[in-house]
Symmetry: C2
Subunit: 205 residues, 2 copies
DNA sequence: ATAATCAAAATTATCTATAATTATGAAGGA
DNA sequence: TCCTTCATAATTATAGATAATTTTGATTAT
């Protein structure tokens, strides 16, 4: 199925998902032998998975004292939002020349899916897909990976806020971005995107 | 000396340095057993070091086929420069309110050191220190780390260009940035910084 | 002579077992 | 109550072994 099929990668993916969704809480210790046992693996690939999580900012490791799920303060959430805003705007500027009508239509569809999402997880997934669809045509893999990691960090904050009661908000920002792009107003789309990302990491709208 | 004293970290640092300076050329294979033998270590910490290099974008790993020093095309160099520009401007905006006269004076001194640098390595080191001195007061650790990694990638390109003959150029951009900051023109400083970073990854001035 | 095929070597990825260093927590004394 | 000491646990690292896969080299056939 997956071609990058190393045990360490699989473990890293699964743990990342647990951290993002909040199943593993901030500050929770990640003990290599326990994780290894759970996955029926040895400690070697587990340690490699920890390293990847560390690089993604999802875990922090103190030598000889183990690795824990990274916490996120108000300041860190703001930091991630600002980085995302800067990088997503950059990606959009570079993607704009390659955005076809078909891509914009696809983004529209994804946005509609998000509006009808039954829970936060589904909504977040659609949200991420929306952004990625618009930005991917920039053809800058390193930039896209950085944005991906930042989106994951953002999602942690989102899930921690609305865990129980929640209903899908129709996303006006997304529609406005698409409208601006269709009208060829790239700079304007960038401004809306920037504000959208910055405010997204804030209190409920 | 270093408190984060794990073998894997040490190995990663040394290998990163070799890659950045060009001692290890793009595409060169990194064989775990060879590296392990060189450092008198086992393969476990070596593999972890590889993972860190991979996350920093200095190496690429194909499962079952090993890891190689990352190549960098013209497009990738431009990508890194654009990311750096976006993030450094963001960092500068957030650092500006905390920039004291003392810090600006320190940056000035570092810049003078760079002008008198005997070789590319020394000049690059001063350059990096200059940027870091101005940006560190932003107090955004994740942002600073991302910038660090991007600067490392930039340095690779720089070293590959001017390996032999070289003489220190007096850096007008740096001076202009400092002048703008002293005059309280943060936005202007940001514009110069942006242009400076974008053009830095281009042909000789 | 060139191309295809197959065997051998090298390399990765993993596991198991073990040693050493360091942190954690509990018991006991000031 | 607070501090020291000690036992336990966890992390970090080593070593050796094994399976799978890739690469290399040699042999063979066209």
């Amino acid at each position: 199925m997956a071609k990058d099929d190393t045990l360490a990668n699989q473990i890293a993916r699964i743990l990342a998902d647990r951290i993002i969704t909040g199943a593993l809480e901030p500050g929770a210790p990640l003990r290599q032998d326990h994780v290894a046992e759970e996955f029926g693996a040895s400690h070697v690939p587990v340690r490699e998975a920890f390293r990847r999580l560390e690089a993604q900012g999802l875990a922090v490791s103190v030598p000889r004292r183990g690795v824990r799920v990274a916490g996120f303060s108000r300041a860190e959430v703001r930091e991630v939002a600002e980085m995302r805003a800067a990088l997503e705007v950059l990606a959009l500027q570079n993607a704009a020349p390659h955005l076809t009508r078909a891509i914009l239509d696809e983004a529209q569809e994804i946005n509609d899916e998000g509006d009808n999402a039954p829970d936060v997880q589904a909504w977040e997934q659609a949200n991420r897909k929306f952004h990625r669809t618009l930005l991917a045509p920039c053809g800058m893999p390193r930039l896209l990976k950085a944005i991906d990691d930042l989106q994951a960090a953002s999602a942690r904050f989102l899930f921690s806020g609305w865990s129980a009661e929640w209903e899908a908000p129709t996303d006006r920002d997304h529609s406005a971005i698409l409208a601006a792009l269709r009208a060829g107003q790239v700079d304007n789309a960038g401004l809306i995107l920037k504000r959208h990302v910055l405010l997204g990491g804030r209190s409920p709208r």
